[in-house]
Symmetry: C2
Subunit: 766 residues, 2 copies
């Protein structure tokens, strides 16, 4: 287990074990820059330019301190020396590494400013002793400039005009014009170096760079070198207990003038402070929307701070926007940032083909004919409408994408980026939803189930239905759930839902007829007519999602649901969660696809795919079993005692723990990936809407808790439709709600006037 | 200057300074594998599979020795400890690193076997002391397996079936099926590791790998890791003065069975010894073809051994085959390997478009409309015919590539690989040559000079003629040279050459009318009608190649030629050779192209581009000025005292020394690249055919030396048409040749019966 602690006053996670099983990842971002860091501060910084990702910093970001010929890296501590203090502070909108060693305190803070293509580095160095000292401080930041293989286009060296280090890759007919990097500090350079090999020595390394063995960095410019860096040496005279700030901005631009202007601004101490302040205000704006106090401190911290932040990551931001992914994110973050939810809803709904089926991913467009994207629309739209009451969105008119989703995908090279081609037809948002639902209920195979085509939620069952024959039971169940949501919307709008209801009931009947085996669900039928996720299957005989979704969709209820979940427990449960399927595929099968090629226990092949576990938790709450929900959730915690040293960042959820069938023992239970996952929105909804049971509804705030038995006192503060609700949950023999001193019938808390505050007591029979 | 020496008995270069300015590169190759190594032994190994390059080893190849808890890297010596002996032996067909330290001798030899996709590592360890010792030896080889981004496809671990380490990346719909790597040793493993992070530690490095601090490597298998390695630990008990061999084969295959079979064979000591023997025999076959003894030992060594080897590199072998490049290589290595010359001649001539102009590069096909490729055909064909007498090749029938070279290129994405599409028409080789020459003499612009189109030899003047208006003076001159060669061929065949002669004379007249300025040549006119390489040009006012080629083509002769070269000396000469142009472009210009974007002094932009210098040396010999030729050649030597520590491998020629105008002082004169260059064939021809003046001719061996004045005694042994010529050159007052005791008229040595040997004395008036 990673050593560190949550500093809830500062909204920080403080990593104290700086050498955990794997580097912990942190993210910083603005609308134009995305930065992924290891906890030491090094990583990748990309600018978003015309939907392309332009990486301009990539690799180490180091601070070295040298005195009297002895040196160490203050933020990376390569030699793992015994520092007096050594911490990484994961903050909201900043990342800070602090160390104290030999009487010098160093704080290296990295932020991404609100606008522009830049990374700001503030290095604060403090003389902790009462002696005057002369200290050399070095900043090393690895750059990425070579946007073509013609290294002769690159120039790197000192820039007289600014006093900084200038890097250009000015070439003939390049893919991007953003080829100027300027690194500028607000403290004059004593010396510099511009290439990795010059800094470390061509035979040296970062543990003991050759250039630190000399008095000064070389001050050589360079060309014809792929590994450029901004290496700056500052010679500081520090009085007793004096603190000095050094600010280094690394900016990317098309032109020298643009870079100069930006770097001058961003290298100011004042700018750094303003940007920090902006980050603080930004996060203070949305954090109060939902605040929990339960007996489980980690549960609270995740809801109150960290999951909110993870939601807004937008799945790694520039990594391509999955339709399905965004819809689930929207469903969760609509409470936090409804404007953003609206913007993305409208953007994504434009990316339905004329047949109603959306594209799998945009930016870049990915045309593989996945067939499930439509089922995620209704949940996202309902969440948005209930949170905001903004029914007007339903009348916004949007185009479709030209073509038929299946034929289009089959015809195209699936990874090709192609510009958006609008169909002639455009429709209101409501009609877009209608078309998505109707696409699904009409896209059926010979068992009357929904066609599988290129895949569904399970991206890796990607060759079960490509021939247009295979049918997915899970996708059929998910379609039933989407129909339910659409019916709820139509009924709220006072519109006729009978056609959808009839289609849903017919689909449900087919699911029960062809999808059930021994009281549980199979995953589907592939193009060859073989059952997938069945006792007849050669491998992966039992899948998690069809079971949990049968409950989420209302197809299975009550005792039958409990029985079903007992089967799930028996087959799929392991010490760190629930496997996506069992037994894992160990032989590849082209009639199944990628999943069968993955190593046993990896990702969708028998891994504990946390997204699936999150569905399971929701289904436990639908079954009104708070204990099952909570106990499952706790298996996912970084602190799960049954899965120690799992590698996960305590302040994020990972999408996977490697499953128990992995052939490599030491990898079982390990989370190799960081927080770019659909697990985050679902766990956020699990915690807030399913377990705490506080959920926006059309006409008020619905309260329907499903606590674990051990909880007897819970408090939730929620801002909803500009009302503040302070809700105390009190265990009692009777259920009942007191709203502003009065008993409320049902479980909907009414909406008062703007900015009104409500005291609510919810008595629950635990 | 790199420290080391040539061991001529063993045909080795021995590097003794193991930490030169930059790593020295060595190459090993077969028809199916290409291996590029740093002198320590690490590097890249690629298999050639269906014209694709599949890298399967990439990075460090290390040997560590550990005794009593202390360890060091025997071949890489990271900490630069004071070894008793430490050398890299660059051999013909093998690379060996030898070290002695603390009483242990380690010899690590790498070879690429004749067949198959494999690298063999032989590690010989000797106890130099008279004490018994227990030694742990580790081999670490970095692999490259991930042929898709789905790391979950990868498996790595111990293979019970072979006792080796097995790595597979078995995935759905992958670009290659060659995804099985097996590393097998002939000594059983004491322990192993399969990922870099496991070996070094995730926070460690190769200087002090975490796993060496433990008794045993982890023996963990792995998946989901991009950085796989074969790390093997062997525990050896060594008697006093005992030597032990460990053989490790790393093989790539489609299947486990295939890999197993190959690895079993290639990990045998016997196989290693046989392969070494094969390499020795292979090189012994062609080395005697031309053997020189001159007063300049380095000159001899380069001809006798190292340039021959560099020629056969085929320009990095799998890096794409340039038409122009191959033609020049063929012209040189036809003496060494006429069969290979024939094979490539026929392959390349198929890659002329129907209009006669060849494609710029094949494997993959590169369609940018370079216009010079045709001028290189006649020289290559003449060289082949004169060497072999194989006139029959002229009647071989070959197809053309479909289409018009200019329109085809303009229409295509220039880098796209497209399969060969044959035109309906096919022709004999002689007609192919005719069509190439006629293409050039008919492809003229408004000054009656040859159109520039996408470029000529100077790849980086790639936008002077794209609009089909610009004309290249150099290309016109080169066309005259090609016409001369074609005329020579036609006349030898007794065919009419009058049409070609007339065209050549007309072109020559236009060159002299529009290409001359102040007694020297400009480079051309671009699409805008601006002169390039002229005093009117804003930059790069003087180019080297048009001057040297005016002499090579016979357009300028005698005193005029000497005067011209004085101008060249005045403007372009620098301490490490001749700049390609002066002054270097310092401002980019889209009406010129890439050259104007390169940093000053780099590559074709004012760099000392050695290929151009090689043309200059040939032209000096045409002017009969052996001193100029030789002095120019010596400037290119790694040992040039005016350009110390230039970085170049003593056993290879580099394509460039960075020019004196480079803004970065420390880079001037530096050779950043290794031996993948057209410099090699031309310098080989300069040395053998121009300076030593021994050159194949249709009816015998031509002798026409152009020695520097200081040479008074030279001996050349030459095998030609299965005759051995032992030629002694003796300085004398008179010129004259004694052939097998008889005076010969003229300078052609006759061809005797098969396997006959001839003693020749050439008296030259030095």
């Amino acid at each position: 287990m990673t050593q560190g602690y949550f500093d809830n006053k500062k909204n920080e996670y403080v990593i104290t074990d700086m050498f955990p099983r794997r580097p912990l990842i942190d993210y910083l971002w603005s609308d134009s820059v995305f930065c992924s860091l290891e906890h030491f501060g090094g990583g990748t910084v990309s600018a978003r330019i015309d939907n392309e990702k332009r990486v301009f910093i990539c690799g180490n970001n180091l601070v070295y301190i040298k005195e009297n010929g002895e040196y160490y890296s203050a933020n990376r501590n390569f030699k793992q020396e015994k520092f007096d203090r050594y911490e990484a502070h994961v903050g909201l909108g900043y990342h800070k590494v602090v160390s104290e060693y030999k009487g010098i305190k160093t704080e290296h803070t990295i932020i991404i400013p609100k606008d522009g293509f830049a990374q700001l580095n503030n290095i604060k160095v403090t003389n902790l002793t009462d002696k005057k000292r002369k200290t050399d401080l070095y900043s090393y930041i690895q750059l990425n400039l070579a946007t073509s293989w013609h290294h002769s286009y690159s120039r790197a060296g000192f820039d007289e005009g600014s006093g900084g280090l200038l890097f250009t890759h000015n070439g003939y007919d390049l893919p991007t014009k953003y080829n100027t990097i300027l690194a500028l500090s607000d403290v004059p350079l004593a010396a510099y170096s511009v290439t990795k090999s010059d800094f470390t020595g061509i035979y040296g390394d970062f543990f003991a760079p050759d250039s630190l063995k000399k008095d000064r960095l070389s001050c050589n410019g360079a060309t014809f070198d792929g590994e450029l860096c901004s290496a700056m040496q500052f010679t500081l005279e520090l009085k007793p207990n004096e603190t000095r700030d050094i600010n280094i901005a690394v900016v990317l631009d098309k032109t020298y003038d643009g870079a100069l202007k930006a770097a001058k601004k961003y290298s100011l101490q004042k700018t750094y402070e303003n940007e920090l302040k902006y980050q603080k205000e930004l996060h203070e704006k949305y954090l109060p929307v939902f605040v929990a106090e339960t007996p489980d401190e980690y549960f609270d911290t995740m809801i109150n701070v960290w999951l909110k932040r993870q939601l807004l990551l937008d799945r790694g931001s520039f990594a391509g926007k999955g339709f399905r992914d965004l819809m689930q994110d929207i469903a969760a973050y609509t409470t936090i940032d409804p404007e953003r939810a609206k913007r993305y809803l409208l953007l994504m709904l434009k990316h339905q083909y004329e047949d109603g089926n959306p594209i799998r991913m945009i930016q870049p467009n990915f045309h593989y004919p996945y067939n499930d994207c439509g089922v995620w629309i209704t949940g996202a739209v309902l969440a948005y409408l209930k949170e905001t009451g903004d029914l007007a969105i339903l009348n916004e008119v949007l185009t479709y994408m030209k073509g038929d989703s299946y034929e289009n995908a089959i015809a195209k090279d699936a990874f090709m980026y192609e510009p958006y081609v609008a169909a002639e037809k455009s429709d209101t948002v409501l009609e877009h939803i209608d078309r998505a639902v109707n696409y699904l209920i009409n896209c059926k195979g010979k068992h009357g189930l929904v066609l599988w085509r290129g895949g569904d939620w399970n991206d890796s069952l990607n060759n079960c239905g490509l021939k247009n024959v295979g049918e997915s039971v899970w996708l059929s169940i998910a379609t039933v759930k989407s129909c339910n949501e659409y019916i709820e919307l139509l009924e709220y709008l006072g519109k006729d839902s009978s056609k959808i209801k009839a289609a849903r009931d017919e689909l449900t009947a087919n699911i029960l007829k062809y999808g059930v085996e021994d009281g549980r669900f199979i995953y589907g039928y592939n193009d060859e007519g073989d059952k997938i996720g069945s006792k007849e299957s050669k491998q992966a005989k039992f899948y998690l999602n069809p079971q949990t979704w049968s409950i989420l969709s209302g197809i299975v209820k009550g005792e039958k649901a409990d029985e079903l979940m007992k089967k799930v427990d028996k087959t799929l449960k392991c010490p760190f969660g629930y496997q996506q399927c069992y037994p894992s595929y160990s032989h590849s099968d082209d009639a199944i696809g990628r999943a069968s090629y993955f190593v046993e226990g990896l990702v969708e092949n028998g891994g504990v795919y946390n997204h699936g576990v999150a569905f399971k938790i929701a289904s436990d709450c639908v079954r009104k079993n708070g204990d099952d929900a909570y106990n499952t959730l706790k298996m996912m915690y970084y602190s799960n005692p049954e899965n120690p040293d799992n590698g996960v960042e305590p302040y994020m959820l990972s999408n996977m723990y490697i499953g128990p069938e992995c052939p490599y023992k030491q990898m079982r239970g390990f989370a190799p990936m960081s927080g770019n996952t659909g697990t985050a929105p679902w766990i956020y909804m699990d915690m807030t809407e399913y377990i705490l049971g506080v959920k926006a509804d059309f006409n008020g705030l619905k309260v329907q808790p499903c606590f674990p038995k051990e909880w007897d006192k819970v408090r939730v503060k929620r801002i909803f439709r500009e009302n503040e609700y302070d809700i105390e949950f009190v265990k009692s023999d009777e259920n009942g709600i007191i709203f502003d001193g009065k008993a409320v019938k049902g479980n909907i808390l009414p909406i008062g006037e703007r900015n009104s505050k409500h005291k609510v007591t919810v008595y629950f029979n635990g």
